[in-house]
C-alpha cells in the first residue's frame, strides 16, 4: 500500500484532564472513540486510513495516570508513565530489573520517551496484512492472508493460533507476567484488577479484540507486587535490528533459588502466540530442580511441545527452546545482553547456542 503523507483525516480531539473525565468520554462515545496514550500505535492506523475513529480521547493531559509510586507492597506504575521513566526508575532497576531491561529495548529512544507502559501492553498486533487494511479475520473478514502457502508469516505464531496467526508484539508484557503484575482497569461496573496474563484475549475467544478492554474501559495502572522483588531475573529479546524492531521472540523469567535449586519461578514468552504466554507447565516441571543446563534442556523441550509452525517460521521452535533454556538455567549472575549498559555488541543470537 502506498504510504500516505498527507495530514490525517479529521477527527475530534478530546483532552480530558482526569481519569474520571476520560472514562466518561469513553463511555459516552463508545465504539466511536479511540484511546490515545503515547500515540505511536495509533498514528499508524490513523495515517494509513485503516481505522477512522470519530473521536480521539488523548490521555496525555491526565497527570494522575503518570508516575511511579513505591507502595507498601511493591510499585504502582501509572498507565501513562513513559517507557523511559520505567526503564530509569531506581526502584524498578534495583528490585524489578527484568522490567527495566524489557522496556529499555523497546523500539527507539524517541519512542520510549513518548510511548507509555499502558500503551505498550495494550498495543495491537503487527501482522502486516491486518495493519495494511486487508479484510482478514481479525479485521472482521473471513480469511487469514498470513496462513497460506505463500503468506509472509516468518514473524507469526507457533502457538494458540485460531484463524488469526498474528503474535502479540509487546516486550514489557513477559516481564510483567514474570513479576506477577496486576492490571487495574476501570470499567462501567467499577474497578477490576486482573493478572497480567489474563488481560489478553486469544482469537479463539474474540478474534477482533486483543485485550479485555471493552469500549468505555480504561487501563489506569499496573501494580507489581513485592513477591518477586530482588529475585534472579532473565530477559532476552531477539529481533532483526537492534533498534525499532518488534521481537521475533522474547523471554522473561523470575526465579528464587534456594540451595542451588529452583524454589519458585515465573516464566513468560511473547511473540509466539496471539496472547503473551505464561509457561505454567514449564514452571511446574522445574520447581525443585537445580538451575543447571540439564534442567534448562528439559524446560526448553517441554516449552515447545505442541508448537505448530507455519510455512516460514519453523525457526521459532529451536529459538524458543534455547530462550527458555537460558531463562531457566542461564540466570546464575548473568545479566541479559547489555540492555542496561547500552552495549549492543554483546548481544548473542539465541539460535546459535
Amino acid at each position: 500500500m502506498a504510504i500516505i503523507r498527507d495530514v490525517m483525516p479529521a477527527f475530534d480531539l478530546l483532552q480530558p484532564s482526569s481519569a474520571a473525565d476520560a472514562q466518561k468520554l469513553l463511555q459516552e462515545h463508545g465504539s466511536d472513540a479511540w484511546i490515545m496514550a503515547g500515540g505511536l500505535d495509533s498514528f499508524d492506523w490513523l495515517k494509513d486510513r485503516i481505522k477512522k475513529p470519530k473521536v480521539l480521547v488523548d490521555l496525555s493531559g491526565i497527570d494522575e495516570l503518570k508516575g511511579i509510586r513505591v507502595t507498601g507492597d511493591g510499585v504502582e506504575i501509572g498507565a501513562m508513565t513513559t517507557l523511559t521513566e520505567v526503564a530509569e526508575h531506581p526502584e524498578i532497576r534495583k528490585n524489578y530489573s527484568v522490567l527495566s531491561q524489557a522496556v529499555s529495548v523497546v523500539a527507539s529512544p524517541q519512542i520510549r520517551n513518548q510511548g507509555t507502559l499502558g500503551g505498550n501492553v495494550s498495543q495491537d498486533v503487527r501482522c502486516w496484512y491486518y495493519r495494511g487494511g486487508w479484510p482478514c479475520y481479525r479485521a472482521g473478514g473471513n480469511i487469514c492472508y498470513a496462513d497460506t502457502p505463500v503468506g509472509r508469516n516468518r514473524e507469526h505464531a507457533i502457538f494458540g493460533a485460531d484463524r488469526c496467526v498474528a503474535v502479540h508484539p509487546s516486550d514489557s508484557v513477559p516481564a510483567l507476567i514474570a513479576l506477577d503484575a496486576k492490571f487495574v482497569v476501570q470499567t462501567s461496573k467499577g474497578e477490576k484488577t486482573v493478572d497480567a496474563e489474563n488481560y489478553y484475549i486469544g482469537p479463539d475467544l474474540d478474534i477482533t479484540r486483543i485485550n479485555m478492554l471493552q469500549p468505555g474501559d480504561l487501563l489506569t495502572a499496573i501494580r507489581i507486587p513485592s513477591t518477586w522483588a530482588g529475585a534472579t531475573f532473565y530477559f532476552e529479546k531477539v529481533r532483526d535490528r537492534n533498534v525499532w524492531d518488534f521481537p521475533l521472540m522474547n523471554v522473561a523469567s523470575a526465579i528464587v533459588l534456594s540451595g542451588g535449586a529452583i524454589s519458585r519461578i515465573r516464566l513468560a514468552v511473547n511473540a509466539v502466540s496471539p496472547r503473551p504466554m505464561r509457561l505454567k507447565n514449564v514452571e511446574d516441571a522445574v520447581v525443585g530442580k537445580p538451575a543447571d543446563a540439564s534442567t534448562g534442556e528439559m524446560a526448553g523441550k517441554l516449552a515447545v511441545q505442541g508448537a505448530v509452525p507455519l510455512q516460514f517460521n519453523a525457526y521459532k521452535i529451536p529459538l524458543m527452546r534455547n530462550l527458555v533454556k537460558r531463562a531457566v538455567c542461564g540466570v546464575a549472575g548473568q545479566q541479559a545482553y547489555g540492555a542496561l549498559t547500552g552495549d549492543l555488541d554483546t548481544q548473542e543470537v539465541a539460535w546459535n547456542s
Binding site: 504510504i3 495530514v7 475530534d12 478530546l14 483532552q15 498514528f43 480521539l56 493531559g61 527507539s108 520517551n113
Partner: protein, 236 residues
C-alpha cells in the same frame, strides 16, 4: 447549536424563547465552546468539531500563536504553518528520526506528536540551536568541523537527538552515544562520520569551541582556503 440542550436542562427552562434568553443562550454557548471543548465533557449529541483552532505553542523560546487542526502533527505545524522547514519529514511513521525535535528538552518524533498535545510546552527545533547573535551551537559547529554528513537530510534530526541525549549524558562513550541516537537513520549510511561529529560536539559542549573556529558559520570551512572563505563571507 447542541449546547442549547444544556440550557434546557436547567431548573427553570424558558418556555418561550425571548430575545434576552436567546442572546444569553448564544453567549453561554459560545463560552462553553471557547473554554471547554478541549478539556471538558462534550454534551451528548454534539456535532463533531474538526476545524482549526488558534493555540499557543512555545517554539524556540517564543510563544507562537498558530491555527492548528486537531489531527495536525507537530512536524506539519512547524514546517507548513510556522515555516520552520529545518525539521524534515522522512517516513512520517516514527521510523526514521528525521523529524526529531525536543519537547521540554526530550527528543520526540515530530511526525508522531499532535500539536494540540504540546500547548504550553517548550518545543526546540534545529532553528533554535544557534544563539541569538548567530553563533552556532557546539554540536552544529562540530558537524561543520568534522564534515559529518553527506546529503544531510537526516542531519537536523540527528542534531536534535544528540543535543537531547547530551542533556542526560554530557560525557558519553562512543557506544553510549550510538545507543542514545539509535532512533535516527541515515540513508547515506554515514554513521561513522556522524558519530565522529557528534562526539566532537559533546567535547565542544564540555570544553567550549576552540578559538578561531567560532566564525566558520559565516566564513565557511577554513580548510577551503582564504579566497573561498572571503567569497562565502560576502555571500557570493
Amino acid at each position: 447549536m447542541s449546547d442549547r440542550n444544556d440550557l434546557k436542562s436547567g431548573e427553570n427552562p424558558p418556555k418561550t424563547i425571548t430575545r434576552r434568553n436567546f442572546i444569553l443562550g448564544v453567549i453561554a454557548g459560545g463560552a462553553a465552546v471557547g473554554a471547554a471543548s478541549y478539556r471538558f465533557l462534550a454534551p451528548r449529541g454534539r456535532t463533531y468539531s474538526t476545524g482549526e483552532r488558534l493555540i499557543t505553542v512555545n517554539v524556540n523560546g517564543k510563544p507562537r500563536r498558530v491555527d492548528v487542526m486537531k489531527q495536525e502533527t507537530l512536524a506539519w505545524t512547524l514546517r507548513y504553518k510556522l515555516g520552520l522547514t529545518g525539521t524534515k519529514l522522512g517516513c512520517d511513521r516514527a521510523e526514521c528520526g528525521a523529524c526529531t525535535v525536543l519537547i521540554d528538552n526530550v527528543p520526540h518524533y515530530g511526525c508522531s506528536v499532535l500539536t494540540h498535545t504540546v500547548r504550553g510546552r517548550n518545543v526546540t527545533t534545529i532553528e533554535g540551536l544557534a544563539s541569538a547573535d548567530g553563533r552556532l551551537h557546539p554540536v552544529q559547529q562540530a558537524v561543520i568541523d568534522e564534515q559529518g554528513f553527506q546529503c544531510a537530510f537526516c542531519m537536523s534530526g540527528f542534531l536534535m537527538a544528540t543535543v537531547g541525549f547530551l542533556k542526560t549524558n554530557p560525557n558519553p562513550t562512543r557506544k553510549e552515544l550510538a545507543h542514545g541516537i539509535s532512533g535516527n537513520l541515515c540513508r547515506c549510511q554515514d554513521y561513522n562520520k556522524i558519530l565522529d561529529a557528534m562526539m566532537r560536539g559533546a567535547e565542544y559542549m564540555r570544553d567550549g569551541i576552540p578559538a578561531g573556529k567560532t566564525l566558520t558559520a559565516i566564513a565557511g570551512n577554513p580548510a577551503a582556503g582564504d579566497d573561498a572563505t572571503a567569497a562565502l563571507a560576502r555571500g557570493a
